[in-house]
């Protein structure tokens, strides 16, 4: 028990003094997850908007598939990217395996379906309200997409935050494609897994504290955005 208490005190100390090892891991984690959100958003948001407004055969099947992919296990996403990027894989010549870039790709694959599915839900509800009026103005579904993305900006920001939360908390995908190389591809989640198994609880706990704070902060930000949108947009 005293060991645990001691570990916890040390962990708080590591965070409070911004220990370089801890800070390096935290910053890399943030960089990787933010980049993954950006990449996934470029694909996911327009895809969600198109699915919200377009009507085509097989649309329901695409939505079901997308919703299913929201639950894609991180290790499977990691495995897919690993196969693609490994030496003998189709993209092996790029030499990306076990680099931060590979981790960004894996996390983007993981959260793009989440962004697409959630933004589809948000924007489809908006489109149902807007469709008739926009058509009266002479704007068809395609012209409506930028309108919906702009008018849904606050809701979409919370969607992005959900994607960021998922990316920063997952361990399986980055472990497989990043390799957990110290100082290069070691993120908060993979470091926690490793240090815990090694018995270095203070470092694992310190990173756990930071991770919890980030998740808490992201959720507070999402709530604040919802409130701000309610105040300013009605």
């Amino acid at each position: 028990m005293n060991d645990l208490q001691g570990a916890f005190v040390q962990a708080v100390g590591l965070v409070a003094t911004a220990d370089p090892a801890v800070a390096g891991i935290v910053l890399l984690s943030l960089r990787v997850s933010l980049a993954a959100v950006a990449v996934a958003a470029l694909v996911g948001l327009p895809l969600g908007a198109l699915l919200a407004v377009a009507r085509f055969p097989g649309r329901r099947a695409v939505i079901v598939a997308l919703n299913a992919l929201m639950g894609l296990p991180p290790v499977v996403a990691g495995l897919l990217i690993y196969v693609l990027l490994s030496r003998s894989g189709p993209l092996g010549s790029l030499g990306l395996l076990f680099t931060p870039t590979a981790m960004v790709i894996a996390q983007a694959l993981l959260i793009a379906p989440i962004l697409a599915a959630l933004s589809r839900q948000v924007l489809e509800a908006m489109w149902e309200e807007y469709a008739e009026q926009l058509r009266s103005f002479g704007a068809g579904p395609w012209r409506a997409v930028p309108t919906l993305l702009w008018d849904g900006r606050f809701a979409l920001l919370t969607v992005l935050l959900a994607g960021f939360g998922r990316a920063s908390a997952e361990v399986g995908a980055v472990m497989i494609v990043g390799g957990n190389i110290e100082g290069f591809t070691r993120l908060m989640t993979t470091a926690i897994a490793l240090e815990t198994s090694k018995g270095d609880l203070p470092l694992a706990l310190a990173l756990g504290l930071v991770l919890m704070a980030i998740v808490l902060g992201v959720n507070a930000l999402a709530q604040g955005l919802r409130d701000a949108a309610q105040r300013s947009l009605g």
Binding site: E129, Y130, R135, S136, G138, W150, D151, S232, L233, G234
Partner: protein, 240 residues
């Protein structure tokens, strides 16, 4: 002698609309000319809103056709519609007013000029920077009217624009409608409020059970109801 961008007269021939096997509107033939407002009246479920949507092109007719007989090449650009529940964008009052003008490809200066003018017309100039969806119900409907008016449509369709408004807001909306009509904008409007129809109408289109029962000048329609159904409706005895 018609302006080269006129779209009226409007002719509907044998217009029908069927949804899920139920005939909402059948065999409606009518013509609308430039002039004072046309009020579409009739009991609930008579097909008033569907008729407006067919004429405006929001719904494809199941039968018959709608023809704009004026010389304008793009009739859709010279008409606008305001709905019972105003659909306002999640933007400022001014941005709402400018949105359709930007869609129409007007230069920015012209957008700003027309939007300011339209907001002044409906008395919302002072609220230009407010979020549109935080306005009161009456203000929202006035904004919807301003947004449509800024397009300077030749024909403006209004679907029960006062249905959910209190008497004060209704009076304000009616005053705006009268102003627009006075400027030569053809108003085509549904209402369930007979007193309102009497106040605004130049002529009346009376629908009952999805069929056109009568089209007549307001004076004739109210003084000499052209059919037993019309007389019953005016007495308040025809409810659906």
């Amino acid at each position: 002698m018609r302006a080269p961008d006129a779209i009226l007269p409007l002719r509907a021939e044998g217009l029908g609309f069927t949804a899920n096997g139920v005939a909402i509107l059948q065999d409606v033939t009518l013509a609308l000319e430039a002039g004072p407002p046309t009020l579409v009246i009739g009991p609930n479920g008579a097909g008033k809103s569907v008729l407006l949507r067919l004429l405006h092109g929001l719904l494809p007719p199941s039968a018959g056709r709608v023809t704009w007989e004026g010389p304008a090449r793009h009739p859709g650009r010279h008409q606008a519609m305001v709905f019972q529940r105003p659909v306002l964008l999640r933007r400022s009052v001014l941005a709402n007013c400018r949105y359709p003008l930007a869609l129409a490809g007007l230069p920015a200066a012209e957008q700003a000029r027309r939007a300011a003018e339209a907001l002044a017309l409906v008395g919302l100039a002072a609220l230009a920077d407010r979020p549109a969806r935080r306005l009161s119900g009456g203000e929202q409907q006035r904004l919807a009217l301003a947004r449509a008016a800024a397009l300077r449509p030749e024909v403006l369709f209004l679907d029960e624009p006062c249905a959910s408004l209190d008497p004060t807001a209704t009076a304000a909306v009616e005053a705006i409608i009268a102003t627009l009509a006075g400027r030569g904008c053809k108003i085509v409007m549904t209402t369930h409020d007979l007193a309102q129809a009497r106040r605004l109408a130049g002529d009346i289109v009376f629908l009952h059970r999805g069929r056109l029962q009568a089209q007549a000048s307001a004076a004739r329609f109210f003084d000499h109801p052209p059919s037993a159904e019309a007389a019953a409706f005016l007495r308040g005895a025809l409810l659906w």
